[in-house]
Structure formats: C-alpha cells, structure tokens
C-alpha cells in the first residue's frame, strides 16, 4: 500500500507492506537512523518519536497509522544549524554515554518542555519513566533537561 507521512516538515510517500512499523519506515525507508530500535515490545522507549507533538513508541505504531500525522524525529530537532536547547543540554550536562537511548529521551524532553516550560525534577523523571537508560543512572539526563528548561529562550549555537 502507498503510505504518505509527514516527517520533520517534509512529505514522504513510499510503497510498503501494511504491517511495516513506523520505526522501520523511518530507519529503512527514509534512512533516518537517528531513531533507534531497541526492545520491540514498547518497553525501552529508544524508538520514541513525536506524533503531532506527543511522544509515541514507534515500534508499536504502524507506518500506515502514522499517515496523516506529523512525525518529528531527532533529525528534526535542530533548526537551521542551531541545536535545540535540549540537544545542547545533553552536551552541557553529559546526558549520555553510549547514546542509544538519547534520541528518544530528547524527543520526550522536547514534548515535556513544550507543555511545561519549567518542570520540576519529579515531573522530568515522570515524563521519561517509560524510557530506559543503562549508562547514566538518569541523574545527568534529568540535569540535561533542566538545563534546556533554564536556557529555553537563549540563542544556542551548534
């Protein structure tokens, strides 16, 4: 079947099997490999992308369902060569070691800050509670997101 999906403000049409999951559509059809593919069981959250601005686990959404929705992946966080404050925050506060969970964490953080520009640490922890990091113990991730909240209005250069 033909599927047309908006990804990072661009329209893509591909001929795919109906059973194709959004994560594989992004990675294999569009070569957007910044979205990672982990547990396959909607537990780990490394495949999180934004669907109409809200985080979803792309291993548990059909590409066909995503048609008609706006998808944003980690490749779409940076705008015109300028990093999103969330990306800058992960750099400043050492929010990653291996980087496998990072794209999902950053997208959930973006959605959180869009709804709640000044979250408490508890709210940050709640927001990322569906995502697993095996390196950092979460402390630096929480600090990275807090950094982004505190620097939301500043010009952040890549």
């Amino acid at each position: 079947m033909h599927v047309t999906v908006w990804v990072n403000d661009q329209e893509y049409t591909r001929y795919v099997e109906p059973r194709l999951l959004l994560v594989h559509f992004l990675r294999d059809e569009l070569d957007l490999t910044g979205t990672h593919w982990g547990c396959d069981t909607s537990n780990c959250g490394t495949c999180v992308v934004l669907m109409d601005g809200e985080p979803v686990k792309s291993c548990t959404v059909l590409a066909a369902t995503a048609a008609g929705h706006e998808i944003r992946t980690v490749e779409g966080l940076e705008r015109g060569g300028v990093l999103d404050p969330v990306q800058q925050g992960f750099t400043e506060e050492h929010g990653l070691q291996c980087g496998f969970c990072t794209s999902g964490m950053m997208l959930t953080a973006r959605a959180l800050l869009d709804r709640n520009p000044a979250p408490t640490d508890e709210e940050i922890r709640e927001a990322i509670s569906g995502q697993i990091c095996r390196c950092t113990g979460y402390a630096t991730i929480v600090r990275s997101i807090r950094w982004a909240a505190e620097h939301a209005t500043e010009e952040v250069s890549g």
Binding site: M1, E17, P18, R19, L20, L21, H24, D40, T41, S42, N43, G45, V48, M51, E54, P55, V56, K57, T60, V61, L62, A64, T65, G68, T108, E126, A127, S129, G130, Q131
Partner: protein, 316 residues
C-alpha cells in the same frame, strides 16, 4: 525482529464505516485502537488477523469524557460536537468514548473530581508514552486478565455500549467480561462508549502493586463506596490479575448496610482474598498475591470512604 504476520489494512473514517467494514470483511477482521495491546500480540503471533481496521481516525468522534444530564434525553451517541451542558443541571451519568486515550483519562478534571478511581489507575497504567496511544476501549476489549480498567469499571458499576449492525445494546461488566481475552463484543460489533453512574455521597479508589514502572500488576484492588446517613449503602469491589471473576461479591455484600470502619474493611479484604484465585508466576507466589489482595482491598476501601466523606461534607 518482531513483525506482525501480513494482513490487509483498512482505515475507518467513522463508527458507521467501521461497522460496514466489519460486516464486509467478516470474523477474520480485527479493530485496531491504540495498538499497544494488539500489535504486541500480533508480533508474537498470538493474534494473526487477516484484516486490520484502524480506528485511529475515530479518535475525535469517540474521544471524550462528559456528563450526561438527567433532565433531557438526547441520543447517547452522535457524531459531531457533544451536547452543551447547562450550568448546574443535575447529571446522573458520566460517558466516556471508547477511543479516549489513557492520557486524556488521566488529565480529565471531571474524572479527577467525580470518579477519582480513574485517575488513581491511570497514574499506574503502563508509562506516560504508552498512555499517549492506548485507549480505554482497546484495553477493555483486549480483556487482559492483568489489565486495570476492567476492575475499575466493574467497581463503579459501569455499563458498556456495544454497537452492531442491529443497533446498540448496553451490558454491565459482569456480562461484558467473559474471561481472559474474551468479551461480550461479538463479530461485527464494536464497543463505542462506557457509561458510569454518578452517585451522591460516593468515593472510589484504586490500589495497585507492581514491581516497576510500566509493569503489569502483581495484584490490584478497585473499590467504590456510597454512603447514606453514616452507613455504606452500596460498595463495589473488583480485582486485577488474580483470576477473580472481576467482582468480589462476598466482600461487597459484607459491607452493605454497615457503618464504615477499619475492622469492616479488613473483613472485606479477607473475603476478597479468599474468593480470588491467583496463580504463582514470576511476579510472585499465589500465597503472596492473596495476601496483597487483602491489604489492597482494605486500603482502597479506606481511601474510597474518605473521599465519599469529603463529598458528603462538600454537599452539606
């Protein structure tokens, strides 16, 4: 890589369209709501439907939580905007569309004030990202024995509106839940709405034990209590993940007509624990789960009653 078996995909544009598709495609068709139960089952080949009818486009038609006024009698369901609520008009029922997502249930002010049990449960269902997709209708129709909303709906005497080619029928949870993964929704039918009575001087609560965020319950207890002149007029108790026939009738009967007290709640907890039939598995032994049921039932009753008393205070 876990991928579902091949299927043909259809996208429903309305409830009527979904019913037409179900009628045309026959019993090998399945409805896809939020997909967070069905797609994992399809990946594991526990489900392999020939046709999938995606209800994603019905998220606005069937995504709502609203009060239903007692005074006027508009049709229960119709497409388009909900009937405007007259300020101050008495409402005896709350209606939830089947495609209402977990997150919307969690954030509903109406549920938080009138049926707090939904907020209790939604805080501990899966995780925030999963709650962005999963729906109440999908969860109830999947009827996983460890799923939370079946017990919640049973405890508050919710009724399920099932629509099919012959029209609508309304069943209570006792008839709806037929056992693990089996409900009263027949071929060619779909669940469209959940109706919950709004009772005066009432409170409700949900208590769950799980091992970590997002995991299924080890055990959970749902309770609702309505008070009249200092005694319990009616109580609803239902359990999750312990092989119970959803409702704990013995415990409910023990509470009816008696003044609330911790001793009474402990007695009801013991009755609920005795009547359930948990299985030993990686989440705990049957003995441990039975113990947890007793404790959680007591706690849920205590919180439900405290909320009912607050409600009484507010209204007097």
């Amino acid at each position: 890589m876990q991928v579902p078996a091949p299927f043909e995909y259809q996208r429903a544009t309305s409830v009527d369209h979904a019913l037409e598709l179900l009628a045309r495609l026959g019993p090998e068709a399945r409805l896809l709501a939020g997909g967070h139960s069905l797609l994992p089952m399809m990946k594991l080949r526990l489900a392999a439907p020939e046709y999938l009818i995606d209800l994603d486009g019905l998220a606005s038609e069937l995504g709502y939580v609203r009060e239903h006024p007692t005074t006027s009698g508009p049709p229960a369901i119709r497409s388009g905007s909900p009937p405007a609520r007259t300020s101050g008009s008495p409402c005896d029922e709350l209606r939830i569309g089947a495609m209402t997502r977990h997150r919307e249930l969690l954030e509903s002010e109406l549920l938080a004030t009138r049926l707090t049990i939904f907020r209790d449960a939604e805080q501990v269902i899966a995780d925030p990202v999963v709650r962005n997709r999963g729906t109440i209708g999908g969860a109830l129709c999947q009827a996983d024995p460890a799923e939370d909303l079946s017990a919640v709906c049973a405890a508050v005497d919710a009724r399920m509106v099932i629509r099919g080619p012959e029209g609508e029928r309304v069943v209570d949870m006792r008839d709806f839940y037929r056992g693990p993964y089996e409900t009263a929704v027949g071929d060619g039918e779909m669940l469209v709405e959940i109706r919950v009575p709004l009772l005066d001087a009432s409170g409700s609560a949900y208590e769950k034990v799980n091992r970590r965020v997002g995991d299924w319950a080890v055990a959970a207890a749902a309770a609702s209590v309505s008070l009249t002149r200092g005694t319990i007029e009616r109580a609803g108790i239902a359990l999750t993940a312990v092989g119970a026939a959803v409702k704990s009738t013995d415990a409910e009967e023990a509470l009816s007509g008696r003044p609330p007290s911790d001793e009474l709640f402990a007695q009801a907890g013991a009755l609920a624990a005795a009547a359930c039939s948990p299985a030993s598995d990686q989440r705990g032994s049957a003995e441990y789960k039975r113990h947890v049921v007793g404790v959680l039932t007591r706690r849920a009753l205590r919180r439900a009653t405290a909320r009912a008393l607050l409600e009484v205070e507010r209204c007097t």
